[in-house]
Symmetry: C2
Subunit: 430 residues, 2 copies
């Protein structure tokens, strides 16, 4: 999917490939898809794969539905939950030390370094900071990539809390079609925490990785004319074997979330996008509809393909910061949020060897820092994130289009920046 | 695209192919795309072409964006222009004589006969009648097929009225890329009235018709692995030659409307969907966003692929009935509506030989009846329509999924039904 790097290895130090910086790769300045029709050298297309190459994807990530089939997630007719505004001019100058760096940079510099397309900072529920860059605007949906997973993790945890889904039951209990697959004897909880042991590797940009098969099966990338593999997400899941013992090690594999979506469909009787609409989109006072890419038989790609407005992502984070109570109602049980905040097994997480995430854990499709602010976050490739800092009463929502997929490449600037902002707001609540 | 018939030939009398009726082909009853995942025999897919086969398209027409790439047409943040409700229980029993029939049927029977998915009747701006059937609901967008053309015809006529577009100028003046094509020396007005003389046939369902090439080029249908033709709408237009003399005969060819869209883009500097959004969607108090299918380089398919809610189609018709003044403003110049109502050349129209449309004409992408009520209509294959009857102060918006493409197959029931309803409302204004 991208030029390099896995989710579990740190970037090469010093020898990193060189890319045009965020200014030089600005999609508006470069004129991608501008003109009627766009000139050949300014086209960004699905069929030739150009939409998934840098810098063209700086346009694609803000125009996903123009490239692929999608299903709507309606906000319904309820009122928008307005985010009050209390902008802070002092945040741009907040200083931070990137990981493994020797000199500080400012918050403003960290945004450019990470090819930020948009960022919203909520402090005590008010918009303290909001910027849009490149192809993004406040009104335009951006792909959230694996931040998508965390929405469906919350939905699944809610159904577990309500007793509709048993976290201890094996997957085969709900999905007989997966009984013979590697998922069959994994528990629902192991799938949610990604401690399943599967014959499947997720290395972005490596055509020999199983992730490349997954991307072709789901329609995330174009298929060659002679393609003979699976043509739908669930069809692909059934082909995955087991490798080792479930419940021991955290290994980040998007296919777990597709199983989560399938579980949601089986126990609710609704499609995952309908559940997202009924439980969250119509409840949170969202500004706009969202949408999900679907595969060739209409299954929403719940692991990677939610597209939404940035402020709606911030609302979702704010609901969690408020322990599930938002827009005048208890949207999600408080116990669901408390469970995420407590986190998962740090021992299981350590097995994955994320250099930038020491001491973290993964719980119900969320990344949990266990830092002194109790921060937890949803993360998607190329820099998508919603970051909740309970102690600082802060939520950060960010979309980006970094030239490298893995957040390991963005973390050295992002994580210290988020934490520095939290510390600053805690010390200077305004 | 369908099993048979052109736009210009009447259906075979007596020997018509047999299809499951509207009840037996109900997509909800049949369970199309129901289940997670849908069973193999209930799948409706783009890649195997099943989405464009009857009865599967009774599902597809209400789920178009789940099959293809699309671009949003935003309603913006203005208030919805509420349609007041004054429902009439007497309309179902209104009687009418279908064309070439020997026995009357009722209005209610005409709806089933035409595989109606939804119908709204406005009388004096109030909802007198509203029904949804099959896969459609009030909240779901349905594909409008060639009703799409009439939206862009109104936009083009508006730019002509404003002096931004010269109806007498040749197409090559605005689009040098088409100078060598059959369109080059046609005037903008001839393109709008479809009196261009082109080497291009539009016969639905005939794989040897040029329309089949158009459908592959635009992405309306899947392409074979060995496909080597045009991959975008404008690329295809440039391949069309001239055949005869422009301005003489009306010949229904969708490609004219793609030229209209290109002209709109050239003179406005905006994409046609942006113009639709700025001029109509944000002005008419629409209930919901609409969307257009796009080709592989993002060009909206302005001839065939607008999807919208039925009540929003009714609002568009009501704006025209009110001579362009709607929702507290003059949305379209009154002269544009007057020009459509006057119609085009009836002599040019007669050349096309529509058995069900004697004495009609075509003007600026609208079909004009010249009947005693001064009715005019937008029409799309399989039964999409908005019908304006000025004398009866009536607007009818209809979506349908008839097993045959050409409206010639629906007209025998539809046109007498619309006119009978107009006469009834004129005599019984309530």
């Amino acid at each position: 999917m991208t030029a390099m790097t896995t989710t579990s290895t740190a970037p090469a130090t010093g020898a990193a490939p060189s890319f045009a910086d965020s200014h030089a790769s600005d999609p508006v300045t470069l004129g991608w898809m501008s003109g009627s029709p766009p000139p050949l050298d300014k086209q960004v297309r699905f069929d030739d794969g150009s939409f998934l190459r840098f810098p063209m994807w700086r346009w694609s990530f803000s125009h996903w539905r123009e490239l692929v089939p999608t299903v709507n997630v309606a906000r319904g007719s309820s009122s928008v939950c307005v985010l009050p505004r209390a902008e802070r001019s002092d945040l741009d100058a907040v200083r931070l030390m990137p990981l493994r760096a020797t000199a500080e940079i400012t918050w403003a510099e960290s945004l450019a370094a990470n090819y930020t397309d948009g960022i919203v900072v909520l402090h005590r529920g008010r918009i303290a900071y909001e910027r849009y860059l490149g192809a993004l605007s406040a009104e335009r949906p951006h792909i959230a990539f694996s931040v998508t997973k965390s929405f469906f993790g919350v939905l699944a945890a809610t159904l577990v809390a309500e007793g509709a889904l048993d976290a201890g039951a094996p997957v085969r209990h709900y999905i007989p079609e997966l009984a013979a697959s590697g998922f069959g004897d994994a528990t629902v909880g192991q799938v949610l925490d990604m401690t399943t042991a599967l014959r499947y590797t997720e290395v972005y940009g490596d055509p020999t990785s199983d992730f490349a098969d997954y991307a072709r099966a789901t329609g995330l990338v174009p298929r060659r004319a002679d393609y003979a593999g699976a043509r739908a997400a669930y069809e692909y899941l059934a082909t995955i074997g087991k490798a080792g013992e479930h419940g021991r090690a955290f290994t980040y594999r998007s296919i777990n979330t597709d199983v989560v979506g399938w579980l949601l469909a089986r126990v609710s009787g609704a499609s995952p996008h309908e559940l997202l609409q009924a439980r969250l989109w119509s409840a949170l006072g969202m500004e706009d509809d969202a949408f999900l890419q679907v595969d060739s038989v209409g299954t929403p790609l719940v692991a990677v393909a939610l597209n939404l407005r940035l402020r709606d992502l911030a609302r979702f984070g704010e609901m969690l910061r408020l322990d599930g109570a938002y827009n005048g109602r208890q949207v999600v049980p408080a116990a669901v949020v408390a469970d995420i905040r407590r986190g998962g097994s740090r021992e299981a997480f350590a097995c994955a060897g994320y250099a930038t995430l020491p001491g973290w854990s993964y719980r119900n499709q969320w990344w949990v820092s266990h830092n002194e602010h109790g921060a937890y976050t949803a993360r998607g490739i190329h820099g998508q994130a919603v970051y909740v800092d309970p102690k600082a009463e802060m939520v950060i929502a960010r979309f980006a289009s970094h030239p490298l997929a893995s957040n390991v490449n963005l973390d050295p600037n992002s994580l210290p920046a988020y934490h520095a902002l939290g510390r600053h707001l805690l010390s200077n609540p305004g």
